[in-house]
Symmetry: C2
Subunit: 496 residues, 2 copies
Amino acid sequence: MSKDKAPRRPRAETPKGFRDYFGAEVTDRKAMLDTIAEVYHRYGFDPLETSAVETVEALGKFLPDVDRPNEGVFAWQDEDADWLALRYDLTAPLARVAAQFRNDLPSPYRRYAMGPVWRNEKPGPGRFRQFYQCDADTVGSSSVAADAEICAMLADALEATGIPRGDYVVKVNNRKVLNGVMEVAGVLDPSDPEKFAHERGIVLRAIDKIDRLGEDGVRALLGEGRRDESGDFTKGAGLSVAQADVVMGFMAAKRETGAETVARLRELVWQSTIGIEGVEELETIARLLNAQGYGPDRINLDPGVVRGLGYYTGPVFEAELTFEILDEKGRKRQFGSVAGGGRYDDLVKRFTGQAVPATGVSIGVDRLLAALRAKGRMQSDARGPVIVTVMDRDRMADYQAMAGELRRAGIRAEVYLGNPKNFGNQLKYADKRNSPVAVIQGTDEAARGMVVLKDLYLGARIAAEATVEEWKSQPAQSEVARDGLVAAVQHLLGQG
Amino acid sequence: MSKDKAPRRPRAETPKGFRDYFGAEVTDRKAMLDTIAEVYHRYGFDPLETSAVETVEALGKFLPDVDRPNEGVFAWQDEDADWLALRYDLTAPLARVAAQFRNDLPSPYRRYAMGPVWRNEKPGPGRFRQFYQCDADTVGSSSVAADAEICAMLADALEATGIPRGDYVVKVNNRKVLNGVMEVAGVLDPSDPEKFAHERGIVLRAIDKIDRLGEDGVRALLGEGRRDESGDFTKGAGLSVAQADVVMGFMAAKRETGAETVARLRELVWQSTIGIEGVEELETIARLLNAQGYGPDRINLDPGVVRGLGYYTGPVFEAELTFEILDEKGRKRQFGSVAGGGRYDDLVKRFTGQAVPATGVSIGVDRLLAALRAKGRMQSDARGPVIVTVMDRDRMADYQAMAGELRRAGIRAEVYLGNPKNFGNQLKYADKRNSPVAVIQGTDEAARGMVVLKDLYLGARIAAEATVEEWKSQPAQSEVARDGLVAAVQHLLGQG
């Protein structure tokens, strides 16, 4: 650690890519997390909170951008030589917990978790290096009923946060179908699963980028490679045109109804055992969801969804918001993905050597909040506290007593604690706090056993709109008896 | 980062000094944080959430144990050469925010914050390297009314979490009085504040350890130094016996009433301007609190409280729980400190060069939870979900529909998703989840439009207590019509 010998002052700055959250930004997110947790809990999931810090070996290397410095995590070496790192998601810690406590946890283990995760990535506009996730996972069930349940719960959670039906869709696909397509295209050999693994990785990431790169861009990545606008070249998977056709056909397999999509997928992968298994799983998921009333208006099959992470082994899902918002440049675009997940049957096995099936979902809470704000659907309570002003510095105890009475009646209230000399500053402060009411008691009012209440919201409206006559009559200001303070404030706040 | 070339499995372990929190451990803490936040909010404090990561230069070096490796923080070098670290408390980030946003924030700025903090310390029993704090601070008020308010709010917060009046005390002292004592003892020269700073640091830390070291231990540290049981020697402040007497006299200055304590302190520091200023601040705080009904049964003056941190400049306070608990070795001891704080007028100045007065408190939420648990005052809701068992694997959609109906009625419910073959395992699972009710529907019941409900709590009681006749009559099991499922479960849960 560098020693600052010079008396230079430290910079008052957040590190690059981090930010602070104030007031309603904090309470809005908390309300959303509480809402989602309630849904997860009602589905039988139990809370788990792991620490922010894990050993690097326990986290593993599963971030999509494997070529980033430090492999995408914030890591450091502990005194006893262990490498430690901040968690980059909530799934890797869960896999560690499922292995560590496998003899004590119920099986299946349904758990939910929420909290910040950290990514050592290049920060960009709206892209931070700390953000919140809110996950639910079922560990120890190989049944696709577990995947179906997660999809239904995701739909319920989105609706509970204020996304109405029709404004979102949960898209479901299956990695096994994709593996079947890979087999048909000749880049997966069931007798030697490691062969072509590198090529399949490129295919996977290429498909995942279809929204951004378009069909031509993906085709380039499936073939020799792609040169982007900056001139940088990304090496492709080296597939022939015929092979690429198979993959592209898979991505375009979505049909009007789930049944038609399933039929089309069956045509594509009928030669592949794993592919057909995947198609049948998709069929089962659709049937289970339909039986519970989760029709294609909420959850549907979409072969275009593959999810970037390498560890998925079966069903994968992604929730997209379907309404349009304006981007930074004022252009309309679909808001896009706010949640995703899937089945990862091998993550716990890393630790124990024994296969433990698992499936789960992660909701990107900060993105979901941004979406709700963009649609004007966040009703933040921005009302500040009642401000008891200080007219007479020696009577601080009286003012504190007033605030205390208001609080005991459940009203948010505080005494002005800045320098009370300039009364205008006190009202400016009340304004900045968005206070609804100021309480004023000078020596004169105190002697008469009275207090003055100033309705600051009404006052602001009058200042903006009133005629001189209305203004002079001071309708926003009233004098009430000191012992009627609480009732009078309650009345002004509409609680009377 | 080291590359694991060998196919060794990663260890499924939390890093040393970290732990996981399950189920009620998570929800109990959340409930406590919510309760405290509500009190803070009612007092007019606004939420602030800073990121876990700060630059090392912004954090500064204010941890009490300055001689620890890495100076007590987890730190690493970012790509652009900035040193970053996990915050070790919530005060340092607040000082950074107050400086960074000084033109936008209201002044005074009352804020509360909660979340984990990290200390790179040697872990010990019950001592973790990540723990929760829940802070409230007022930045920009030099009035001791701000300190008094924080003390009152701390008392309210403790009572709100379930600590009854009489089981806690908020002790208040003032660093200025201590400085006055230092002046009288000849280790503070008002004309050269830096002189003897090292000695004063030793005195401060020695006083803070009175509970652990006793009077003799503290005297040794005030003088030449102290050799502990392990043989390690800590160098002392080098005070003469007469000087040490002055300091020890200060620590023993507590009297029956606040007024007597103030009088005694006045005797001790009458030669010191700063000391008398401190005594008068204590008097004002006591007067303000008494006027609001916070008498010495809740908040009292105690010269024994100094707080270890070097940055305090005025009033300091500490909340102690006064009831006894049994320690690890079964010995009775007082639970001790669960919260502390004070005035720190120079922390923001580090950044801006301008003095910004500030005061605040931090509640150690994990310790407070441990105290409530030790006293049996946590009423955790440990009830698990209703379990819909799977008798017929092909009718999963029907079972899912039952769980869905229960959930829509607000009942926590889930379908068993493990291998359904062995029905005993399903009931064992329900037992492990602490489920109140199991729902059972085999082919036979389905054909008759019925379901069986098993009251698992009653069942467990009967298994433990019943006679053979009672047992045979199976009072814990009942058959109800499928379309009366929700009502029947509600009835069993006592919601009917």
